[in-house]
Subunit: 356 residues, 2 copies
């Protein structure tokens, strides 16, 4: 099944970037990102200024801005960690978000052509997902592909896609132990596929190259408490991914992974990473079974309701592992309160249709 | 994680082919298949002779042979339909089976090199599967790949792989309605990936280009009752795939799909296919939810026990749809009886270790 020509979504998509330390980054992406509005969330010292090259339309938030806008609720936003990027998801007013790290450059496809990552994300997110049955020729909505023999026709319309998870050539997204064991491994395999992650299956969502539909799943895209003052780092996107997937499965929404690739230019320091990760490496052995077993009630019909239910289960089931999860559970609630404050329900969404 | 050099498995693998009508077929595959033993199962008129080129080591079975070997139990083997190939799985004495259709030729990879499909299947089947969590860089056991950040370490050893499902360039494996709507569509996309189909997810297993471990899953590879005297065709491999996947999930075995590709040379007639398929197109709307909901008891610890449990559920739940499923359920039991007759348990497998 083919989808029509990719629209640009210029007025419907924001680009969210954690602190830009790498000046080349925006220049390299200029042809692709300049048509869009940028939201940059500075993770460190608010007095340090960030230079944005001319021609970009952007807003920049530092810690002082976050504190001013959210007040005491700013406690749910990580400090000195790129997890703070989720503040950008909250202040955006657009339907779609593309988030990317500043060490991710434009990749080339096997023919040598530059990959317009955002265009592929838009294709992914605008075409349905198929989480209920696996299609062996991958995304049936791509040009030249379709559903294969034996695919039930009732499932072919698919469900709305909430998330498009892109991948990385060059430096793969490995954990510290794997980085240490395989310091020279590079991802050179261009896999020309997009696929829906089946219902009931969790995946490791990486925040380096990610697009999502804010209206469908935004309130679940919380990147948790990482970095300064926290016992853990580098699990911000993972945490969001596990919550997002459980909620998408509950609400009948789709998550795609695969294309587009970006070029991940440099590996972060494995020793620093190990320090950030080591508790997570233990904890994920309990966190994954927790999310695999998590169920949400029939009453939870909005992302917010789902997320609040999940936060309670986090406190109840993961609080035993470490007090960190009590704090995280509270922060999940604060995040939703802050989200709703900045994103009040539209008039049309009021239950009886009456204006506020 | 890398696996060691691919062994040939010459003495451990049989090639099963339904009737060879296409004489070019074996010549094209000669460099790849000649080292192996071939089991050819003739689907039609037993008086018609099949010419096998010199140099191949093969055994050929026609309907008279099947009747002679299985006696009354031959009723479980389809007549005048390539579904009869599963008789070959039963008479083989090897650990692995590669089955391929005679309209499948050697494909080329994007660099123009001929693809040794069997070598890739062997790689797939000898390396573990990872059905409990999705790895975004696909098969972590391929050269140059690994598990990504956030993948629980306890799940990284994986589980034994029971099935390797290969794909097709050129003519895609579409159902009749899709063939009719898209007569000119060709699969030209070479997706350089192998992946585990997650636990709990069903897929449309195509028998054109398939490898499996007989010892792990053989008795579930029954291709059902199709063709002559049956109300349905072209669901033989699908039926096997659904049963196989439910049983693999229950027993903790893996199913991989993706590479290798073969070149599927010609589309079968969509009008003929529609006639064979149309009941299946209705029925699969009930069959898929049936298999998605099917659970096996803790007592079912062998493939045979699982399959017999499944056969009872088929009778109970699908028998309502059409009497065909009663017949099929009985045939599933007959198939297991015939399998056990031709494949008696090895002495070491006797419960108390005593020789028979």
């Amino acid at each position: 099944m083919a989808v029509p020509m990719t629209p640009l979504l210029k007025d419907e998509l924001d680009i969210v970037i954690p602190t830009i330390r790498n000046l080349e980054f925006l220049e390299m992406w200029r042809p692709y990102l300049q048509p869009y509005h940028l939201i940059i969330v500075q993770d460190g010292d608010p007095t340090r200024s960030i230079k944005i090259p001319e021609g970009f339309d952007y807003e920049l938030y530092n810690r002082n801005d976050i504190n001013r806008i959210l007040g005491p609720k700013a406690s749910c936003i990580s400090f000195k960690d790129s997890a703070c990027r989720c503040f950008g998801y909250m202040v955006s007013k657009k339907k779609y978000i593309f988030t990317i790290d500043d060490d991710c450059f434009v990749a080339k496809d096997p023919s040598g052509k530059e990959i317009n990552a955002l265009e592929q994300h838009i294709k992914n997110i605008l075409s349905p997902s198929t989480p209920f049955f696996f299609n062996t020729l991958y995304d049936p909505f791509r040009d030249g592909a379709d559903f294969v023999r034996g695919y039930p026709f009732s499932l072919r319309p698919g469900v709305p896609t909430a998330v498009s998870h892109g991948l990385w050539l060059n430096i793969p997204d490995y954990d510290a132990p794997t980085q240490l064991v395989k310091p020279l491994e590079r991802n050179t395999r261009y896999v020309d596929a997009v696929l829906t992650i089946p219902k009931g299956t969790l995946f490791p969502m990486c925040g380096m190259n990610l697009t999502f539909n804010r209206e469908l799943i935004g309130p679940a895209m919380y990147f948790g408490l990482m970095g300064d003052g926290q016992p853990i780092g580098r699990y911000d996107d993972m945490w969001a991914g596990w919550c997002v997937k459980v909620i998408c499965d509950h609400l009948g929404l789709g998550v795609k992974t695969g294309l587009p690739y970006i070029w991940h230019s440099k590996a972060s320091n494995p020793f620093v990473n190990l320090k950030k990760e080591y508790k997570g490496i233990f904890w994920q052995e309990d966190i994954i079974p927790f999310f695999q077993a998590a169920t949400l009630s029939n009453e939870a019909t909005t992302v917010q309701q789902c997320y609040i239910e999940l936060s309670k289960q986090v406190k109840e089931k993961l609080g035993k592992i470490d007090p960190y999860f009590d704090t995280l559970s509270d922060a999940m609630v604060t995040w939703i309160e802050a989200w709703d404050e900045l994103n009040p329900p539209k008039k049309a969404e009021l239950p009886n249709g009456a204006a506020k």
